[in-house]
């Protein structure tokens, strides 16, 4: 089998436009899913550290549910199964009138899946602080809420920045699964180009390089944030 090369494919229309559209969707899905993942994930992670047993059990149930099912299957459940299980008027609205259902499904599916992982990292970050800090806060008369808000969460946030960086990168990479429900993000578009032009190597290279650049930008940016919020006097960041 021989392969015909043509790199100009990448810079000519409509293929360049396809790639850019794909990149746009990748960023939109990853961005929105990450916001959802942080909001839900930090909450669930905190729940798992509270003295209240019901809160802890709920948190554990959430994490176990979303971590033991493949993301692809979760997306399919949100996209195909949920509209059927909801009461008829809501289900029908989702199926007919909701604009961009693939986008919202991808955001919710990816967001809630990632939230389980963020929850675990948040929990580990809080538990790494050690009971002494919580005791000192309690001893001075702070309520549980105050001790979380002023002491535990600010310290945990710094502990958790490196794992959260990797988690954000995972979100960017996992956004590629949206193509399975019809949302053509970057990977999906490169496949489209491959099918249309048979210049798969060029198309995939373009997409791959874009991912590498995205990853590098994120890592550099988040390392700068780490340095900015580092606690003075503790081990300097390499």
């Amino acid at each position: 089998m021989t392969y015909r090369w043509d790199w100009s494919v990448l810079v000519s229309e409509p293929y360049l436009g396809w790639l850019l559209t794909g990149l746009g969707w990748t960023l939109l899905v990853a961005g929105a899913a990450w916001v959802l993942a942080l909001a839900v994930g930090v909450t669930v992670g905190v729940l798992r550290t509270l003295p209240n047993r019901a809160a802890r059990t709920f948190g554990t149930a959430y994490v176990e549910t979303f971590r033991n099912v493949p993301l692809l299957l979760q997306l399919f459940v949100w996209y195909f199964v949920l509209p059927e299980l909801l009461p008829a008027p809501v289900g029908n609205w989702i199926k007919r009138d909701l604009p961009l259902p693939e986008y919202w499904t991808a955001v919710i599916g990816l967001g809630l899946f990632t939230a389980a992982r963020v929850a675990e990292q948040t929990r580990a970050g809080i538990q790494a602080i050690g009971r002494g800090q919580a005791m000192a806060a309690a001893a001075s008369g702070m309520t549980l809420a105050q001790s979380y808000r002023y002491i535990l969460l600010p310290i945990a946030a710094r502990n958790v920045l490196p794992p959260l960086t990797s988690e954000f990168l995972n979100v960017v990479k996992n956004s590629s699964l949206a193509l399975t429900i019809g949302l053509l993000e970057l990977t999906g578009q490169s496949r489209q180009i491959e099918s249309a032009t048979f210049h798969g190597i060029e198309a995939f290279t373009a997409a791959t390089l874009t991912y590498v650049v995205l990853t590098t930008v994120v890592i550099v940016a988040l390392r700068a944030v780490e340095r900015l919020v580092a606690i003075p006097g503790l081990m300097a960041r390499a």
Binding site: M1, Y3, T65, N68, V69, F80, K173, T208, Y211
Partner: protein
């Protein structure tokens, strides 16, 4: 969803079972291949001369920057080209998984090696073992034992990742369920069934790892 036909179940069961076997096949082969390649990469990075270490680092960082689906597409395209003739989806998918997972296993094993006290290597070399022997008989066994829980967790993640062969139409469990669901029109039932199966398998596996962890820590 309520009208579950037992004959239907009987008819599709073998197809789904084969899908599950395919998933397990991919898992085990990718664990073996990826684990081996990952170990080589980790040792290259830690003990190799500069260019070798750089190459390994480039490989690992590069593969960790790219989605798995992208890698699957790459090898689906490349393997037949390189070999010179069309090849089954299973083989190209397997190559993709081995190459991809090796990067993740490499990082875990590298962390494990770094946690072994440096004097262990010195002691092994001082006793006359060559560097490769030192790694094989002294360092790596300790590194792997330490990281076993994390390696196993990564393998559970790998098992879930096998579902992505859906994008090249390979009939693993996930794809088999999807094909069946669409053919029979019982999307809800079949997908929820798939959720139950994956959840049961992964939950039991992760709980077993936790048990293993606790047992090895207590004495």
């Amino acid at each position: 969803m309520s009208d579950v036909d037992p004959d239907l179940i009987k008819a599709v069961a073998p197809f789904l079972w084969n899908g599950l076997l395919t998933s397990f096949g991919l898992l085990l082969l990718a664990m073996a291949g990826g684990g081996l390649l990952g170990t080589v990469l980790a040792v290259m990075r830690i003990a190799g001369p500069r260019p070798v270490a750089g190459l390994a680092a480039g490989y690992v960082n590069g593969l960790r920057s790219v989605p798995l689906i992208m890698v699957i597409f790459w090898f689906y395209l490349l393997v037949p080209l390189v070999i010179g003739r069309p090849i089954g989806a299973f083989t190209s998918a397997l190559v993709a998984f081995v190459i991809f997972e090796a990067a993740y296993y490499a990082e875990i094993i590298r962390a494990g090696i770094q946690s072994v006290p440096k004097q262990q290597l010195a002691a092994a070399l001082a006793s006359g073992l060559g560097p490769l022997q030192a790694y094989r008989f002294v360092i790596l066994p300790q590194a792997v034992r330490k990281m076993l829980p994390i390696l196993l967790s990564q393998s559970i993640a790998l098992f879930q990742d096998t579902s992505l062969v859906y994008v090249v139409g390979l009939h693993d469990f996930m794809t088999a369920v999807s094909v069946t669901a669409n053919r029979e029109g019982h999307l809800v039932g079949f997908y929820l069934f798939a959720v139950a199966v994956y959840f049961a398998l992964c939950f039991v596996a992760s709980q077993s790892i936790q048990l293993l962890n606790r047992q090895s820590v207590s004495p």
